[in-house]
């Protein structure tokens, strides 16, 4: 009898143990990610995957929601005190992972540390407007800017706050080992190695909403088929950046659940406006001296010959949206009034004839093949679409390692490249792409097309210094409309991103910045 009871107790114990282990399992989230951080020092790099991973360990001064709109984070509010001063109120009662409390001193230190330690993907782009950070009291910080800087809070969505006593020196080793990796974020670092697994555990004293998962493992699996296989074999619970071809198959597969979200990335076509094209166009096999892209009718013809619906439906397997401007229209400074782009082959041919190219011309067209999902496929499809308008476009997709340096040397006459409005507002995009390349004012750095329009430059500069949000939005809407009607660049499609997970395991709202944040993922109810 006694032994019987013992057996019963044992069995009960075993059952309890099993129950425990399953609930412990449910507490762990394993994510297969395409790319991870390059270091645990949050000030090292501006790379998207770097920021995404470190958002678990560190908090930023200003936060963003799923749609890249500003929300309070370590700062509870921000207001301009005068033309060149912003006041940030720092959240009280926020604890670092070692128990010390966050103050304005830590924020000031973080701003000042960035220029000292940042690497080739320099974070100084987010602090370059700062002239001085002044601690008013423990929970108030004044930031003086060089000139009016209305987008400073947008810049600070990437301002990760570290403790002010960790020292200024660059010390990636100490961050990687965890010694210096003390943030205020929802998770604390357990271990990481370059290109390997990032292991995180929940920080119990987190100031925000308690994260659902006790342990989070982010496995870096850059190869697409390998990442999909890891999910299907159950090695990971969730993956990001599902390739379009696998997405099509997954829709018929009940063992996988997919999540689709818009991305900030739009594939844009660039024309060189230089008087002498670096790669001359050919009419009937003869190189000509003129640059046809200086003629607005030619640019319009290229635009009209693009069948954006077909691009989305056929080339991208439905994972995209036709784009009519360089960023999602509802972003700050986007235009809701711009019409959808039309597809009109006849009109395109007429315009080409009017411009003096009744038989079209031949041009080389370059793009990337490894930067964004579908970039090479869209590029080649575009070549074929333009062929139907009588143009001979030699589309060539290249590795980004070759493409980007060549674009910066201005070696191409026409190219396609993705652009993501990562700050969620227009000055980032239009200031960089359509303003004249002018080192004096620090604008137009990525205007490799040599486009220059003084009227537009004046508008952008006026808008960039305007502190009144409504007025600034209006000015940028005007910039957007002029640029798009001029067809300085031609937007084609806005890409969408796919995540996949084990079915009914979790709830997840895709973010437009494509970040996969464990503290925003909850177990399925």
């Amino acid at each position: 009898m006694k032994s019987f009871a013992l057996a019963g107790a044992l069995a009960a114990g075993l059952m309890a143990a099993t129950a425990l282990s399953t609930s412990a399992q449910a507490q762990t989230l394993t994510i297969g990610v395409r790319a991870g951080p390059e270091s645990i020092d949050p000030h090292w790099s501006t790379l998207g995957s770097h920021a995404e991973a470190l958002r678990h360990i560190f908090d930023t001064l200003v936060g963003v929601d799923e749609d890249l709109q500003l929300v309070p984070a370590l700062a509870t509010s921000w207001t301009p005190v005068d033309d060149t001063t912003w006041e940030f109120k720092i959240r009280e009662g926020v604890k670092f992972h070692d128990g010390t409390e966050l103050t304005a001193h830590d924020v000031k230190f973080s701003i000042e540390r960035i220029p000292v330690v940042t690497g080739p993907m320099s974070m100084t782009i987010y602090t370059k407007r700062v002239a001085e950070a002044i601690v008013v009291d423990d929970y108030t910080l004044h930031v003086r800017t060089n000139g009016p800087a209305p987008t400073l809070p947008n810049d600070f969505i990437r301002l990760f706050v570290v403790q002010d006593d960790i020292g200024m020196e660059p010390r990636n080793e100490e961050f990687n080992s965890g010694e210096a990796a003390i943030g205020t974020g929802p998770y604390r670092l357990v271990s990481w190695e370059p290109k390997g697994d990032l292991v995180l555990e929940r920080f119990e004293d987190y100031w925000g909403e308690e994260p659902h998962w006790e342990t989070v493992i982010r496995k870096e699996i850059p190869n697409d088929p390998a990442r999909v296989a890891a999910l299907k074999s159950g090695q990971v619970d969730m993956i990001n950046y599902v390739p379009a071809t696998d997405y099509a198959a997954m829709q018929r597969d009940s063992s996988v659940e997919t999540f689709i979200g818009d991305s900030v990335y739009i594939l844009d076509i660039y024309f060189s406006f230089a008087d002498q094209l670096p790669m001359k166009v050919r009419v009937d096999g003869q190189e000509i001296d003129e640059n046809p892209f200086q003629d607005a009718r030619v640019r319009e013809a290229f635009d009209l010959a693009i069948n954006r619906d077909a691009l989305v439906r056929v080339v991208l397997e439905g994972l995209g949206k036709p784009a009519n401007q360089l960023m999602p229209p509802h972003f700050f400074g986007g235009s809701m009034d711009l019409p959808e782009r039309e597809y009109d082959l006849e009109r395109a041919k007429e315009l080409l004839a009017e411009a003096g190219y009744p038989n079209g011309f031949e041009v080389d067209f370059r793009c990337t093949n490894n930067r964004l999902p579908g970039d090479a496929a869209v590029c080649e499809a575009l070549g074929q679409m333009w062929a139907r308008a009588g143009l001979t476009v030699n589309a060539e997709a290249q590795n980004g390692t070759v493409f980007f340096p060549a674009v910066s040397r201005k070696e191409y006459s026409m190219w396609m490249s993705g652009w993501g409005t990562l700050t969620g507002e227009a000055s980032y995009t239009y200031g960089s792409l359509v303003h004249t390349n002018d080192p004096e004012v620090g604008l137009g750095a990525f205007n490799r097309a040599d486009y220059s329009n003084p009227e537009l430059d004046a508008l952008i500069q006026e808008a960039a210094a305007e502190l009144d949000d409504d007025r600034r939005a209006e000015l940028f809407e005007e910039v957007t409309e002029i640029s798009m009607n001029e067809r300085i660049l031609i937007p084609t499609v806005q890409l969408q991103t796919v995540w996949a997970a084990k079915p009914d395991m979790l709830e997840f709202t895709p973010r437009i910045d494509q970040e996969t944040l464990a503290h925003h993922i909850s177990p399925a109810q």
Partner: protein, 324 residues
């Protein structure tokens, strides 16, 4: 003997020198690493400042001489991407690659050579034909495709083995090893087999060809005529004579497996050196590329040296010539 070693050393230094020059010129021709790495929101001043900071504004010869000078003091520089000393970065990945390459070579040797010998010993049997058919598949079917197939069958459909990654590691004499646990073994099985496949085919064919040739030679006939048991004929006289080409190929293959296990490492997400070098090439992380290739040169020179020394052991004639 010492003269021979010194000669090898000089050769190695010359190769390292030429190779680093080629990599330098190559990267310089592709373009500026800053243009690949830079953030889209950077302005012109920042770009200039970064180019100056990393010394890319210097003419190529100056960059190269600076690099050579640092290298002579043992400083290979820091990775642009990770800001870690490149040597540490590469050496931290070496155990994983070494483990994978050794396992693959072990599979290839232990399976390939006996099969090849058998196929050469009974060249007309059905089993020999099957073995030869398999060997053709082994080196004609692309590695990445077989790798994906292995994953689909054993990881996704059957669920017997993990689809990728490396198992938990233990430290043995300062080196992280994963093959001491069952979980570690289950992780390494598929990638090691995948990597072994090509070598397996090669070794089968080499062993068979040598076998067929040697079996019809005079000394084998004499040995048989002498009444030696067949087992002794094969293991004592034949094997020793087919060993030299096998050792040569083994050495070369081992070197290339270590240096270029890239495809297998990528598909199985094995945290080895191959993945590191591919990523570094994509980002034009020049310090890592140069240091890695120098390591590869040293590796090949060392392996060739070991192979040469082994010849001497296997065939006394080569030893005499070397001494003369």
């Amino acid at each position: 003997m010492i003269g021979f070693l010194i000669q090898r050393l000089i050769q190695a230094i010359a190769v390292v020198f030429v190779m680093s020059l080629i990599v330098f010129v190559g990267v310089y021709a592709i373009g500026n690493p800053i243009d690949v790495l830079i953030d889209p929101a950077a302005d012109q001043a920042l770009r200039e400042a970064l180019i100056r900071q990393y010394g890319f504004d210097q003419p190529l010869p100056v960059q190269y001489v600076t690099f050579l000078g640092n290298m002579l003091t043992g400083d290979f520089g820091e990775s642009f991407v990770y800001r870690l000393p490149v040597l540490d970065l590469i050496l931290s990945r070496l155990p994983a690659t070494l483990e994978l390459a050794l396992s693959a070579m072990l599979i290839a040797t232990l399976v390939g050579i006996p099969l090849g010998i058998w196929a050469g010993y009974k060249p007309d049997s059905l089993s020999a034909k099957l073995i030869m058919g398999f060997s053709v598949l082994g080196f004609s079917v692309p590695t990445f495709w077989v790798g994906l197939l292995l994953i689909m069958v054993f990881a996704v459909e059957l669920g017997w083995l993990p689809s990728g990654g490396r198992g938990p590691t233990q430290e043995v004499m300062g080196v992280d090893v994963s093959i001491l646990t069952g979980e570690g073994l289950s992780h390494i099985l598929l990638p090691a087999f995948n990597l072994a496949l090509f070598k397996l085919g090669l070794l089968i064919r080499l062993a068979r060809a040598g076998m067929v040739e040697v079996m019809s030679s005079d000394f084998v006939r004499f040995a048989r005529a002498q009444g030696l048991p067949e087992r002794q004929v094969v293991s004592l006289h034949v094997l020793k004579n087919i060993a030299i080409p096998i050792v040569t190929v083994f050495g070369l293959e081992f070197g290339s497996t270590l240096a270029f296990a890239v495809v297998t490492e990528t598909i199985f997400n094995w945290p080895g050196m191959g993945k590191l070098i591919i990523d570094s090439i994509m980002l034009l992380d020049r310090p890592v590329m140069v240091a890695y290739l120098i390591l590869v040169v040293i590796l090949f020179v060392t392996i060739n040296l070991v192979v040469d020394l082994t010849y001497g052991q296997l065939d006394p004639r080569i030893r005499t010539k070397g001494a003369a």
